[in-house]
């Protein structure tokens, strides 16, 4: 009996391995389509969310985080029996706290960007698109939803690598795809849940992060109208936080230790957030476009595969700090490569985990793997052959002919532009398949990767547990870790929540925060029905501010938003509740100009 391990549960991205789980990809059902480059429509929004996380982690900051996490692990693994546990704990703690503190500080940004990509992003007019939208065009537009002829023409254009701003018909098709993906009951449930999240729940961070990113977007638009293109805005904001070698310099700094390192990282990040108001996005769009490989529709290449540190635009980081960050990351990546050559299994694993952070697991399924005496591999799901091919040459001697329980995994290489499928037996790849765009170099690289995604995720989870257990042995370290975590949570509540509620008049602030901390906008608008409407309007106005178009959609979508009244009445109820409790209408309806817009 085969079991589809990708079915059910929540999507997530592991920040160490950058490995993803997206249950909407059900390999038992979708494997054939994925191999052909057709991804399931049901996966559009979770895929965009997780790919945005992947994109943020596949960056200088993401690489630095993985480096310090792996460093903590290597210190633990390579410690000798009888080594002083206290010394070891402090050594490990020095690395671990850098990872832990940075992740906690950036959680709202991580989630805010992913939510913005999932719920608001639409293709715009600038010459670049985000990586998520790139793959919506490449893998989710199919003959089924846009017709055979249009699909053929668009794919030809993409393959000729025309610039995004030269492909209006492509983005019109993606726009339609996004409407299908967002204007439905399931997505409205998701948006409604987002808007009802307690604002102060910083351990989750979705609503606070989402409102922060939307707030920054309105700020950017007010400064420069080119940021009406949300794709450009997303690329800029992602780069500002995650391609920042200034933050890398603090994460990897040899001049700070444990709690001091956490404090330095925290102070830098807080300053960086404050600086956004001062620097105001001016000129950043042009800087990002200048660095992007617009001919390939992507914004950057892998930093771990072939380090090319000048590929990122420096957005207001002091030059010396920027250069220091490049040096430090370069040194640490070089060290990983040297260690890999030492032959120690732990070092080799660390090096590969670092390298394979560029690939994204779409889904996996257990299967029967039959290896014949002639070196053929046949994979069966419920006794039906689904994959077959010659055995991977380098593993011929390691896995003799026979029938095994194995795992089929589908991967996407978002930044190199190809897909791959592997079948593994006990973690050893016995069969690999690629989309036609994979180079021989990448094929060779892929076969070296750790291709049992569950094994990689288990390693990641276990390693974190082992590190936390070691740190918990020392009560002083445990206390310091608790203090740092609580301080960061308090700072996030203070800095981010204060920022997103800054429009609330001071006399109403305490009451508003109390209501928002209970159930987000749910208690503000007063009822589930009103919340549903706010969620719907937020989705509708992600596509257009045109009042006539939104009014038409309101009539069409009554079964989703469940409002019996007119659009004007529904808007009136929400704006009144918003004004009463927050001093802000939440929705801006301007019949004279024919516009409607939701700030949330």
């Amino acid at each position: 009996m085969t079991e589809d391990r990708s079915a059910g549960g929540r999507s997530f991205t592991d920040p160490l391995s950058n490995s993803t789980v997206i249950p909407s990809f059900v390999l038992r059902r979708d494997l054939g389509d994925i191999i052909q480059g057709r991804f399931p429509l049901a996966a559009v929004t979770p895929f965009t969310h997780e790919l945005t996380h992947h994109w943020c982690l596949h960056s200088p900051v993401g690489s630095a985080l993985a480096v310090v996490h792996l460093s903590a692990l290597e210190k633990l693994v390579s410690s000798q029996d009888g080594a002083d546990r206290e010394d070891l704990a402090w050594e490990v703690f020095d690395d671990f706290i850098r990872f832990d503190a940075t992740m906690a500080l950036m959680r709202s940004i991580f989630e805010g960007l992913a939510m913005f990509a999932e719920a608001d992003l639409v293709p715009g007019s600038s010459p670049i698109v985000s990586i998520g939208t790139h793959w919506l065009a490449r893998a989710f537009l199919t003959e089924k939803n846009i017709g055979v002829e249009q699909h053929r023409q668009l794919m030809e254009k993409i393959n000729r690598s025309e610039r995004p701003d030269e492909l209006p018909e492509l983005w019109a098709a993606v726009h339609g795809l996004l409407i299908d993906a967002r204007v439905n009951r399931n997505f409205l449930d998701r948006k409604e849940s987002l808007l009802a999240e307690p604002l102060g729940d910083v351990k989750s961070g979705y609503l606070a992060g989402y409102l922060l990113v939307k707030d920054l977007w309105t700020q950017a638009v007010s400064v420069d109208r080119q940021y009406h293109d949300k794709e450009l805005f997303l690329c800029v904001l992602k780069s500002y936080f995650f391609d920042d070698y200034g933050l890398v310099a603090h994460i990897l700094s040899p001049n700070t230790r444990d709690m001091g390192a956490a404090q330095a990282i925290g102070a830098y990040f807080a300053q960086r957030l404050r600086n956004l108001a001062e620097h105001s996005f001016v000129g950043w769009g042009e800087a990002i476009i200048a660095k992007a490989d617009v001919r390939r529709l992507v914004t950057f290449e892998s930093p771990t595969q072939a380090p090319s540190f000048d590929q990122y635009a420096n957005l207001a980081t002091p030059e010396t700090l920027w250069k220091r960050g490049i040096e430090l990351l370069n040194d640490r990546l070089r060290l990983l490569t040297v260690n890999r050559a030492s032959g120690q299994p732990e070092n080799r694993r660390s090096a590969w985990i670092m390298a394979q952070r560029e690939m994204m697991a779409l889904g996996h399924v257990t299967a029967k793997v039959n290896i014949t005496a002639k070196g053929r591999v046949i994979c069966l799901l419920d006794d039906i052959p689904v994959l077959a091919g010659p055995i991977v040459e380098r593993t011929v001697d390691r896995v003799p002919p026979g029938v095994y329980n194995g795992v089929i995994t589908a991967y996407l290489f978002p930044y190199q532009g190809f897909r791959a499928v592997s079948a593994t037996v006990d973690g050893t790849a016995v069969l690999t398949m690629y989309s036609e765009d994979a180079t021989d170099f990448m094929k060779g690289q892929f076969e070296n990767y750790l291709l049992d995604v569950l094994d990689v995720q288990e390693f990641s989870r276990n390693s974190r547990e082992v590190l936390e257990l070691l740190l918990a042995e020392d009560s002083f370290i445990a206390d310091v870790l608790t203090v740092v975590r609580e301080s960061i949570d308090d700072w996030t509540k203070e800095a981010i929540v204060r920022r997103v509620l800054r429009f609330v008049p001071p006399e109403r602030h305490a009451a508003a925060e109390l209501l928002m901390n209970e159930a987000g906008f749910g208690r503000i608008v007063g009822s589930r029905k009103a919340l549903r409407f706010l969620a719907w309007l937020s989705v509708a106005t992600s596509f257009t501010f045109d009042l006539a178009a939104v009014t038409k959609a309101f009539e069409q979508d009554r079964s989703f938003h469940s409002q019996a009244s007119t659009l004007t009445d529904a808007v009136g109820r929400v704006t009144q509740a918003g004004l009463d409790r927050l001093g802000d209408p939440l929705i801006f309806l301007n019949p004279a100009e024919g516009t409607v817009w939701s700030a949330v």
């Binding site: 920040p15 969310h49 906690a104 959680r107 989630e111 307690p198 351990k203 159930a519 749910g522 589930r528």
Partner: protein
Amino acid sequence: MHRSRVFGVTGRESWRLDACVVGRSMAMIRRAARLPSVVLLDTQTTGLSWSTARSWCVSTRRVVGQGGLVELKSSIAAVSVLGLSNADRLDLPEYVDSDSLTFRTPENRDRLNEPFTIAAVIVATAAALKGLVAYLAARSADRQETQIDYELEVTRQNGTKERHRIHVVDKGHGVSAELAKELGSLSGLPWQQLLPS
């Protein structure tokens, strides 16, 4: 009033209380009715026979006194309904007393999760479970669902946890009875007690 082998007293049943009395004599029933936190079950409405009720109470170790006084308590400590939305924070408190209800959001510390699912943790008293049945039934009706699936995490009295999946199909009469049976089976409480009023 039932004249013999009385399992409870009509008109005094209150789902807000979380214990019950099985009694044979009216004196005992009257005495028990004055106790706090006591539910007096009615054999007619529950449909249970005296012997079934008594053996059920004894087998689930709810005897708290001699002479037929039996405390009816759930065999489990709490039920967590997984996969709910933050929007459920708005309406669920109208059905389940706030003392019996907390919401649990998965932490986002070790990995970046997909949002939108939270768990409602409900103390497994008859009153709270009855409220939960009513809420899930109303939720299902509101969403025009003809069948519902929930993953539950049951916390035993000793703290151990187990996952259960409940699947209920609406055969045209709503889903309350089926939900009550499922939760009754998990908690050891008579399912009739869990039916919404």
